[in-house]
Symmetry: C2
Subunit: 439 residues, 2 copies
């Protein structure tokens, strides 16, 4: 394997790495986050790509005047590293020289020095490229990066092939009306609501596949838990015995994701106070049983699905009972599940379908799919669908698919829950909702 | 770190791993790729998610009749592993039992047993979910997976943050007419032609970012090197001194990608005869000098850009001269480069912009960007653009950006070149071109 580091650039050095260079002269690059003058010396906090690094300006050591530095300018600072336990990260740099690399044309409309960004969600989104400069705001997206790459590392190690399926499609996976429509060289097209069809087709040749990609839902929701464009973590696995194989794979994957975050994202975990859940055996409850319980506590009003309130009630109950912050709900009513889901042959009113709830929120929908051509065509017909409209999808079934199942996870939802965010928009760099197409 | 393997499932075992279990009883799952009967015994080749595994049916060992197996059915086979140097991978399984997991409703319209798939491109795309079952066809996408994940591993190790930018956008990065348009809750929207604006905005808070994501171009091209939806590998890095920092980063990245492929994708490298290029120092030539050379060999007809023929001629020349299969072309004429590119202050007619050519094909466009607010506004005005239309983009410049540059790589192009494919469509699972919206 070739050397992985391109060049030894210090724009990204952690305080721990700097501490190893105690007494040495280094150059660090970043944005001037904050300047505090204190009796002849000044503390200039540099915001690098991931850290806050304390540098100290002392006129007796550094020839250049402090007045050349201002909040929001980008600069490189050269000086000796010294340990200083009062500084963030336990290290500081005594400035000998600095160079201003660029200057802003206007000051920030938001205050970066507060420990948390003091702005309404509306203001945060309006000045999004400024809000994201706040250490806590941007840290959310490192946690997201960790979830995604823990997921990917697990999938690749377990022989899932990474795929990219088209997002401009002729057909809609869920068959619903809530799709974004566009013209594709004169033809009617829609943006994919999920990679469902492509994942299933790909199981035919890869056995196991996963995808990380955008998903589009033209839903008119305006809630704290919906986005109209989001990132889906999807996988689909062949050769399963039943949907429990899928649920076990998800459990092992989540265990790995939490370990990956623990290993690689300590700065953000500390900054945001992220509480990583223990992922042991995840309890599983049938939908009918969940509904029966929910009715005893004033919930369960929808006989075919869980409401947002039900999800909270059920998670609380399971956590009290078992200690688990996750719970699988299985065997949802067939009526509310898509046509490609396999029904329970012993009770066709229930589907081999599940949700995973985490801290009161559904983060996954999954299940076993129909792999048999005749069975899939028959189920389409009972739903009044014309198999001809799904010809290219059904080609995979016609020429053979192994038994398979899979799931989809909303990356922003899982991130928001882990970071305990009040609104899912804070877990999207540039969120798309019914009011936001910009930036 | 938690254990990474979910469960020890043999649907994905390599021949090497099976060989370690010589003499043991194992179960392997796959699709029946081919059956050859030979004097009382039969060789049943199983196509697993990545390999071809030879199994042997001998009626004296296996009670079940061979007639239950057919081409294209999915099956699990149980038997003892033995070394057999004539088998692919040097190992075979002597069947003791098997179980058919699913059967196709119709035979394949294409022959899987040929060493290469004998089908025109049209037929290949028409029966795409069948064509991709051919070992060579699908292997292309493992190489693609390796390029992507070698890229990602390098980026993460070099402190680039992974981002996801929205693909439904209000504005077009390149300002051109060749965009897919859609309505977004009543507003006019377009599909992103690149993550350019979002990458630049993200440099403000992450310093270095990368993205792997779909890119949309509504170009009417119908060539062997264009797709209308493709995957871009993009990065953008802050604190650069000049565009050579970007080019050096790309060189180191490509070196890592080739090493990553070498380490993890030997089965596909052998199957496809992939010739991995040596990535040492990549030669660099100015556009003006390239043009002067090209004119001496009958090319260089376009004074502002390289034609497809020019790219081939130039690559041949450089390879003969230096041995490198890559060449950077730098300092393209400003006129043909986007408004966000930084011009050479000593000669504003040329831009700090480059392409990377590989084996006769442009696979990257990159350069240094304008980070200064006033400079960016002034350049927009000279081009007749109204800065008001780019307000959200310019907010990042107004409040400060470090000097930065970056690039975009077409994943399918690099894959197609590495695998020596005649048409880029073979490097897209489900390609989108002016004639294909299905599957």
């Amino acid at each position: 394997m070739a050397e992985i580091k391109g060049e030894d650039l210090l724009c990204c050095a952690s305080p721990e790495r700097l501490a190893q260079q105690e007494g040495e002269r280094v150059t660090v690059e970043g944005c001037v986050h904050n300047i505090r003058e204190l009796g002849g010396i000044a503390f200039v906090i540099l915001r690098t790509g991931r850290y806050l690094i304390q540098t100290v300006h002392d006129q007796s050591v550094c020839q250049k005047s402090l007045s050349e530095l201002e909040d929001g300018c980008y600069a490189s600072v050269t000086g000796k590293v010294r340990l200083e336990k009062r500084a963030e990260g336990g290290v500081e740099i005594l400035m000998e020289d600095f160079k201003v690399l660029s200057r802003p044309a206007a000051p920030y409309p938001l205050n970066m020095a507060d420990r948390s960004l003091k702005a309404t969600l509306g203001t945060n989104l309006e000045y999004r490229t400024v809000a994201l400069r706040h250490p806590r705001e941007r840290a959310v997206f490192r946690i997201m990066e960790g979830i995604e790459n823990g997921f990917r590392e697990f999938m690749l190690a377990n022989d899932f092939a990474e795929i990219h399926s088209p997002k401009i499609t002729a057909i809609s996976a869920e068959g619903g009306a809530e799709v974004f429509r566009l013209k594709y060289f004169g033809a009617d097209a829609v943006l994919a609501q999920s990679p469902q069809f492509y994942k299933q087709m790909s199981v035919a040749f890869f056995g196991r596949v996963f995808e990380v990609g955008e998903v589009y839902r033209a839903e008119l929701h305006n809630t704290s838990r919906h986005l109209n464009e989001y990132v889906g973590l999807d996988f689909e696995m062949g050769y399963i015995r039943d949907m429990y194989d899928v649920m076990n794979m998800e459990t092992a994957m989540l265990r790995h994701v939490m370990a990956y975050l623990e290993a690689h994202y300590q700065p953000e975990i500390r900054l945001l106070g992220v509480r990583l859940p223990k992922v042991e055996t995840i309890p599983s409850v049938r939908f009918a049983d969940a509904l029966a319980y929910l009715k005893t506590v004033g919930g369960g009003k929808n006989r075919n699905d869980l409401t947002a309130d039900d999800e909270v009630l059920l998670c609380d109950h399971i956590r009290r009972k078992s200690g688990s912050e996750f719970v699988f709900v299985t065997h949802f009513p067939t009526a509310k599940r898509p046509f490609y889901v396999m029904d329970n042959p012993e009770n066709p009113k229930e589907a081999f379908s599940f949700d995973l709830l985490f801290r009161g929120l559904e983060i996954t929908t999954g299940g076993q799919r129909i792999h048999d051509y005749e069975m899939q065509v028959a189920k389409m017909r009972t739903r009044g669908m014309d198999p001809v409209d799904f010809e290219s999808f059904l080609t995979a079934h016609r020429h053979g698919l192994p038994p398979h199942g899979g799931l989809g996870i909303g990356l922003e939802r899982l991130t928001a829950k882990l970071c305990d965010l009040a609104n899912i928009r804070q877990a999207s760099l540039f969120p798309r909702d019914i009011n936001h197409l910009v930036p």
